[in-house]
Amino acid sequence: MLILLPVCRNLLSLIRGSVMCCGRSVRKQLDKNLTFHKLVAYMICLMTAVHTIAHLFNAEWYNNSRQGRYDTLSTVLSSLEDTGNGTYLNPVRSNSTTPTHLVFTTIAGLTGVVITLALIVIVTSSMEVIRRSYFEIFWYTHHLFIIFFAGLVFHGAGRIVRGQDRPLDWGKIPECPIPRFEGGCPQTWLYVIGPMVLYLCERVLRFIRYRQAVRYKKIVIRPSEVLELQLMKEGFKMEVGQYVFLNCPAISRLEWHPFTMTSAPEEDFFSVHIRSAGDWTRNLINVLERLPEGAQGPKMAVDGPYGTASEDVFDYEVSILVGCGIGVTPFASILKSVWYKFKESNPKLQTRKIYFYWLCRETHAFEWFADLLQGLEKEMEERGMANFLTFKLCLTGWDQSHVNHIILNFDKDTDIVTGLKQKTHYGRPDWDKEFEQIRKENPTSVVGTFVCGPQQLAKTLEKKCAKFSDLDPRKTKFYFNKENF
């Protein structure tokens, strides 16, 4: 039952919203819901193995006992007749059957085999290799869990495990009646019914969201095969850095794909930037490329928004944002929101300083945010707060032609790649130096680090956070948050 709860996204969002008072560390635990789901799954597998092995022995020994292979007492107990009043003990009724036959003729045995098979197929298709490369197999076979839970609830319906009724007064009453036996009641349903109902509500909610109308405000095809969609939906409220699931029935009826939103909550629409990375995204881009100007796109369903750690950015005095390639999208949303909050002088903005690192391999990907960053830069300068936001854009895939370009344009005021005043850096940043500098510039602050990118980068930054933090409350402390889909 615990396995169903971590995947109820809306429930988690609800909990996250209602424990806003409890502080960051409590809410951060909710981010690890998938890890918890996997741990519970491993436990289920282990317990299934133990349960199955135990029942294998059980079936064999009951059968042997029925056939009189063991001592006298067992044989006598096994041959207690069934006169319809709970007088028999051994569930194996005939003395010429085999355990295999037993399994396939009882509810418990049959459901047991079926659900164990379902479990095995679910587990083999959830291996990392299959999940990362062939997600559809993982997703569709995972729905076998419906069979698993159905079978689990009915597993005890045959009441095969028999015990003595009225065991409490045995040996205490003077009449000393002949013992009677009855099968135990199925109790699994008591445990699983709650989470099953919650999960059902979750799926119903997703279905309702699917039916709600979504209008296209703008469709832009950006260079480097990136698509920007600006959508509008009634009653849709988002926070900074949240993500939504998109479904396009014209492309695939059953697939929902997550995308981080790149617009700020202050805008009246919400936008997503989609990179061409697989079948679905490529088909979507193809379909939208062929649309005439100003036409509405194919029907799109939106489920969400679902929140993750980025909501906490404004709570920290100083924030370090590191995005790798397309992983910068939640931070784009944050920067836009910063821009709006700045303009309105929103008191909720506790942040005094933001360091933004964008690591990217090719220059094309920068273009779609060039205007955003240029606008921000101008805004900062006009208000005289040029050091509120420090950004370092790091091109990690440079070659000789870049070098030539740089040499020629060295003296220009603005960067040739992005047109910004901040020059583009080349190669990966040296994190030790960066953290050292941040520590020097902010000697007494609490610094929050947010990463959206590959595991390796996250691990490196986590280590640096630990390395440069100080237990002394008067000195700088680095907290690490990770976002990864």
Partner: protein
């Protein structure tokens, strides 16, 4: 559904089936169940299937991830040539191996899992997939692009001695060599 390589999933399923067959066999032998000989067969077949399925094949698209320590088994499996390369053979082999497991209870589960793996391998074979070994490539040393420009050099690069430097238009006599064509200054 995109370009799915069924063999990858079939491999996972078959490995799991092998382990389950092995466990069921151990239970049957240890408990000395009736007809425990089938359980002993389960142990042997389980071990064989685990060895056969442990090395992952190379993927057609994308990076192939090896299992830890699979290299030795890759070499063994590769040595059988077309027998292990062809997935029809594997499908048939698994179908045949699973049958004796159906006779006693502990190995029934392993039998059914293996049957499922056999079906998926059949699908893979129909789609024309093959098992190709993942062999370690000689990785060429990539030219390091330079870690950072944080510490630029303190001194200029060394210059050649005066005799070997390029002749300058202002100082034709002081040069170490004579040109066949006259040197003129840049305009």
């Amino acid at each position: 559904m995109g370009k799915i390589e069924w063999a990858m999933w079939a491999n996972e399923q078959a490995l799991a089936a092998g382990l389950i067959l092995l466990t069921g066999g151990i239970v049957g032998v240890a408990g000395q169940f009736r007809d425990w000989e089938f359980a002993a067969y389960g142990v042997a077949a389980g071990v064989f299937i685990c060895f056969l399925e442990y090395p992952r094949g190379m993927r057609n698209k994308g990076t192939s991830v090896e299992r830890t320590g699979q290299y030795c088994l890759t070499v063994c499996v590769k040595a059988f040539g077309p027998v292990t390369r062809n997935y029809y053979v594997r499908a048939g082999l698994h179908a045949a191996l699973c049958v004796p497991g159906a006779f006693i209870l502990p190995t029934v589960l392993g039998c059914v899992c293996l049957a499922i793996a056999s079906i998926i391998y059949l699908v893979a074979a129909i789609r024309g997939e093959q098992w190709l070994p993942i062999l370690p490539k000689k990785t060429e040393k990539r030219v390091e692009m330079g870690k950072s420009i944080a510490y630029p050099p303190q001194n200029p690069p060394p210059r050649p001695p005066p005799e070997l430097r390029r002749k300058r238009a202002e100082d034709l006599e002081g040069a170490a060599y004579v040109n066949p064509i006259a040197v003129t200054a840049n305009e």
